[in-house]
Each structure stands twice: as structure tokens, then as C-alpha cells.
């Protein structure tokens, strides 16, 4: 079986479509990573306390230093201190922005005191409906109660630490694995269809190993490629971030990582946990896409048909968006999540008898089970089909 898998691997990698799609995937993935994580801070500007505009690694370093002041669990005292600092600094910062001789994007220290305060009060419901100098809090006690019922852990205190780069890594990893889905359409769809197009089926089916072993050799080869590429993507991206920034940021509560994406997440997860969950679900999604691609490849008569069919099968869950279907169902399909993992975190845990499972884990389990069913269908079709 191993020798057969090696041969199948050799057959796949000899195809131009495999290499072209792999190179395109790697370029896109790195572009996303360096665009979002910006480990060297090329696109990152920050205004220092003396009014100097910093860029690049200097800006990143300054940002980390500034953030250090706010590290820790957000408590009443801590937030009061932040509010005080904010009041003291606000006028000074506004002045600095106006005086800055640049139109470049300016970040006023990453922790963004306003954001911390905002989440603190939403999280603890201590200032609902009250107006602070710079912020208006929208959530009242009545509005928060149903959220608390479903997500009891949302009342837990939030923890802050510098997490800009790991936050970007989370997005890059999710996007990277999603881009792998597209690579799968191009690079892997010929796995069965090519032999059919080349009329090799008859030789394969009459060989000693027969169709069953050929099927599993091809299938396992494709999964092995997918697993290696997914693992490679995750390891490469996390290794770069780890090399430059260590583990700083992984303990940060997810709500404090990126305001636009995670502000409505009612879970009490750290960024590190969310990265693990995202990798698991995205990889399960990739396996699901691989299964659909294998089925398409078994059904198709040539590589182009296989490519088109695998695309159609994979994007077909988009139709769920038209109907009023709960997010729990919609978000299982990788195409309905794409690059965004925040929606998944807004879905409550799944209870099964006495067990309580995080939604992302349950969705990953469903995807893996669905993948197994699809593969068995593909195997049945392959075994029953007459050679061309």
C-alpha cells in the first residue's frame, strides 16, 4: 500500500496544475500573513509619547511596551486606573495626532484604553446605560440577561496582554487553511478523473491490488497531502510568530484581540484556545473539501469536469444563506465561514446528554463524519463502476 501511495503521490506532483496551485497558495498565504501579522511592522505606525512617529520594528517594540502597562485581569480598580489614564492622555494624544506631519495610518498604542473599558463594562454589566466621557455603552441589564443565560462564562473577567501579532496569526491560519481548499480543487481533483480520462481504469482494476486498494491508496495519498499542507501552514505561520513574539498574547481574552471581529463573542476563551479551535475546525473543513473533491473526481470523466464539480459541491452550502437556517447549521460548511472564525465563537456550546461540547469541536466532528460518509459513497461508486 505504501509503495502504491508513493506512486500516486508521484503521479499527482508531476502535474503542472499541482505545482501552479501550490505556488499560488503559498504566495497568497504569505501575503495574508505578512499583511495581517506584519511581524516587522512595515505597515505599522505609532505615535510615541514625545510625538515622534515610529514605523517598522521600532513601532512594534513601542507598541509592546505601551501595552505592557495594561497587562492583567481587568478589575474595577484596574479599569478605573485606565479611565483616569485615558482622561489624562486624551488631550495630549489628540494634540499629537493633529501635529503629526503625516497622513499615514496612525495607531495610538495598541491596547486602546477605550476598548478595554468598553469590554470590561459589557462583560461585567457594571456601567450599563451609563455614559463615560468618551464612550456610550449600549447594553442594558435586560439585554445582557439572555446572553448570560446561554453563555454563563461571559461574566468571567477578561484578561489583557499584547496580542496584535497572534491575533493576526489566527486570521492568517484560518485564511491559509481556507486557501488550501482552493488548492485542493486545482491540485487534487485529477486524482481519479485523470486515470479515467487516460483510460487507465481497466489496467488498475485488473491489477493484483484491484480497485479497492487503488481507491484507498489514492484517497490516503490525497489526505496525506492535505494533512501535511495544513500542518505545514499552521506550523510555518505559528513558528514565525513564536520566533518573533514568543507566546505573548496567547493568554489574552479573545474579545480584546480585535474589536471589529470578536466584539460580540460571548465566550470566555483565550486567543491561544481559539487558535487551536480554529485549526481543528478549519482542518476538518479541509478534509470535508477533500472528500467532496474525491467524490467529484470519481464521478467526473476528466480533470476539468472534476475541478468544476468539486467547486460546485463545495460552494453549494452557500445556498443555506438564502434561507432562514440557524447559524449552527450554516457555519458547519467551510464555505460559509471562509476566512472568518468570529461567527463560530458566537454560537453556543452543544449539549449532548450530559456532555457539553464547544460548537467548533462539534462542527469539526460533524464534518469529519460527513467526510467519512462521502468517502464511502465515492468508494462504492468507484467499486461498482465499469472500467471505460
Amino acid at each position: 500500500m505504501c509503495s502504491l501511495m508513493k506512486m500516486e503521490f508521484g503521479k499527482l506532483v508531476r502535474q503542472k496544475s499541482f505545482w501552479i496551485s501550490l505556488i499560488v497558495f503559498i504566495l497568497f498565504m504569505l501575503e495574508c500573513y505578512f499583511g495581517w501579522v506584519s511581524p516587522l511592522g512595515d505597515d505599522f505606525y505609532i505615535l510615541a509619547e514625545d510625538g515622534t512617529l515610529l514605523n517598522g520594528s521600532e513601532a512594534v517594540s513601542q507598541d509592546r511596551q505601551d501595552s505592557e502597562r495594561y497587562r492583567g485581569v481587568l478589575s474595577d480598580e484596574w479599569v478605573a486606573q485606565i479611565v483616569q489614564n485615558e482622561r489624562d492622555n486624551e488631550a495630549q494624544i489628540e494634540g499629537m495626532i493633529q501635529n503629526a506631519e503625516t497622513s499615514s495610518p496612525i495607531s495610538i498604542s495598541a491596547p486602546n484604553a477605550k476598548r478595554l473599558v468598553y469590554y470590561y463594562f459589557v462583560n461585567t454589566d457594571k456601567l450599563s446605560g451609563r455614559k463615560l466621557d468618551t464612550l456610550v455603552y449600549h447594553y442594558g441589564e435586560e439585554e445582557l440577561r439572555p446572553v448570560r443565560d446561554v453563555f454563563p462564562e461571559s461574566a468571567q473577567p477578561l484578561y489583557y496582554e499584547y496580542s496584535v501579532q497572534w491575533g493576526g496569526t489566527l486570521e492568517a491560519v484560518v485564511t491559509g487553511i481556507f486557501l488550501l481548499n482552493i488548492f485542493v480543487f486545482f491540485g487534487i481533483s485529477p486524482v481519479f478523473s485523470e486515470e479515467r480520462a487516460k483510460k487507465m481504469n481497466a489496467l488498475l482494476f485488473t491489477s493484483r491490488f484491484g480497485r479497492r486498494k487503488c481507491f484507498w491508496a489514492k484517497t490516503l495519498t490525497v489526505y496525506a497531502i492535505g494533512t501535511v499542507l495544513a500542518a505545514g501552514t499552521v506550523l510555518l505561520l505559528t513558528a514565525i510568530t513564536h520566533l518573533l513574539f514568543g507566546t505573548e498574547g496567547l493568554q489574552c481574552s479573545i474579545q480584546l484581540v480585535e474589536p471589529f471581529l470578536y466584539q460580540d463573542c460571548p465566550t470566555a476563551k483565550t486567543l491561544g484556545t481559539v487558535i487551536v479551535d480554529a485549526v481543528l475546525l478549519s482542518t476538518a473543513g479541509l478534509f470535508f473539501t477533500i472528500s467532496l473533491t474525491i467524490l467529484a473526481s470519481v464521478l467526473a470523466k476528466n480533470s476539468l469536469d472534476a475541478f468544476i464539480l468539486s467547486m460546485v459541491l463545495s460552494v453549494s452550502p452557500l445556498i443555506l444563506r438564502i434561507f432562514r437556517i440557524p447559524d449552527e447549521i450554516k457555519l458547519i460548511a467551510p464555505v460559509n465561514r471562509m476566512f472568518d472564525f468570529s461567527g463560530v465563537m458566537s454560537v453556543p456550546d452543544v449539549s449532548f446528554r450530559s456532555m457539553r461540547v464547544a460548537y467548533s469541536h462539534a462542527a469539526a466532528g460533524i464534518l469529519l463524519c460527513a467526510s467519512a460518509v462521502i468517502i464511502l459513497c465515492a468508494c462504492t461508486v468507484y467499486n461498482r463502476r465499469a472500467a471505460d
Binding site: S3, L4, K11, T206, S207, F209, A387
Partner: protein, 288 residues
Amino acid sequence: MELQLENVSKNYGTLRALKQVNYTFTEGIYGLLGANGSGKTTMIRLLCNLQKPTEGRILFDGKDIKKAGQNYRSILGYLPQDFGYYPDFTCYKFLFYIATLKGFSKKNAPDRIIEVLSQVDLLDVKDKEIRQLSGGMRQRLGIAQAILNDPKLLILDEPTVGVDPQERVKFRNLVHRIAHGRTVILSTHIVSDIEYTATQLLFMRLGQIVGSGTPDSLLQQLDGKIWECSVPFGEADQYYDKFKIISQINHEDGCTLRLFHEGKPMEAAKQVKANLEDLYLYHFDKTK
């Protein structure tokens, strides 16, 4: 070794491609003759277990080939009518791939591949891509992949279609050389492919075996039925209406007609020895 078809039928929808075929193959070269659409390829695909019979069963040494699985495939070598290959593979790499499929180890495969390439006279082009080979060479490569596992049962489906006469002769000789100790089933509609090699002939028409036996025994059926006569050019046409003409050879002063007839067709006719082409035409005329 015994391969037995028991009441085998195959339907494609309403079309009956094979009808209640009973036959037993043992060691030797079997020529399966029939026109296009006569059921040869269907029968071969059933023998290779690529399709399942609608009725009946095929037994290999008493065991149904559907259940024999890997044991049956281990002794089978098959060259399909439309031989598939990867054009960008070299001959060696292609055979290595097939060797892997046939269960050869990495250690044993190279020696066997060289041996087989030498047998089919392709050793010189082992590193050439298949797309660069001529049609005849590709067919020989097809034979090479079929005999790689030294099969007891070798099935060749119309192996000489589209091959030039010189390659056909090479191919014929090759089959003859490798046939020793095996059961070779060679399907064709070209009589000369099996004229000198087949030990048994099967004539197929409309999904049935309409005649079978050794070439000599089959040719005996035509004793006294094949005639040749010389006639002037102008009269040749009227004989076409009267008799079943096998061939016409033109000379300066007229032509020689070769024809079937139960008795002497005319005074000047000479009885001649039947050949396989006569037999082929005879069978297909007889069953009309």
C-alpha cells in the same frame, strides 16, 4: 488452469450483448473472431471481471471469479482494446507503476521490467516518453505491462487495431513466443493475427459463439465447399449475384473468383483448400 463460462449473458438495458455463452478455456492460444459489435469485447471484459454478467457465472478453477478477487487478478494479464497510458511517463516508469499495482516490491520490479522490455524489444527506448513511441511500439508496451506478472491467463483485446503490417507481424510473433504455458485469449477481427498462432478458434456473432474448435477441425467443415474459377472480366458481375464470392483476383485476360458452394458451381471450377479467411466469411454468411 480452467476458465469456464456457464450460461453467461450480459445485457446493456434492452440490448443483449452476450447470450447464454458456455465455453471452457484451458491452456493454449484462443483466437476470438467476430465483427465489430459481435460481443467479443463484452466477453473479454466479463472474463477480466471488469463487468459482471447479468446471468450465469465465470469460474476460474471451479471458483467464481467475483469471489476469487486478488487470487484471480494475480494470474491475469490484460491488454485492453483502447490501451491507456500516461503519455508523459517513460516506458520504464510506466512499467514500474504497473509493477507496483501488480504487487512487485521495489527490489524485484527493476529486473523484471528490464526482462520484459527486452522480450518485447523495447529496451532501447525504455527512457523515452510514451508519447514519442509509434503505435506499434505502444502496443508492445501494452503487451509488456500485461505479461509483467508472468500471467497464466493473458487476454488481449484487439491488440493490432491501427498497427502497420510490419508491427503486426512483430506482434504476432511476440504473442507466439510468450504464449507457452499460458492461456492466451486474443480477440480480433483480423484473421491474419491468429492464422498461424491460434490453437483454438471461437467465432462470435450477435453475442453468441457460433463456431469453435481447432483451426484444422473448423477448416474441415469447408472441405469441398471452396472453389476457384477463372472467368472473363465481363462475366464476373453475374457470378456475384449467383454465388457467395470470397475474393476476386484480376489477371490480364480475366479474373479468378474464389467462392463458396456446396457442390461444383460450374464446369471450370477447381476445388481448393480452405483457409481461415474463408472460414470467417463462411461463419458470418451462414448465420445471416
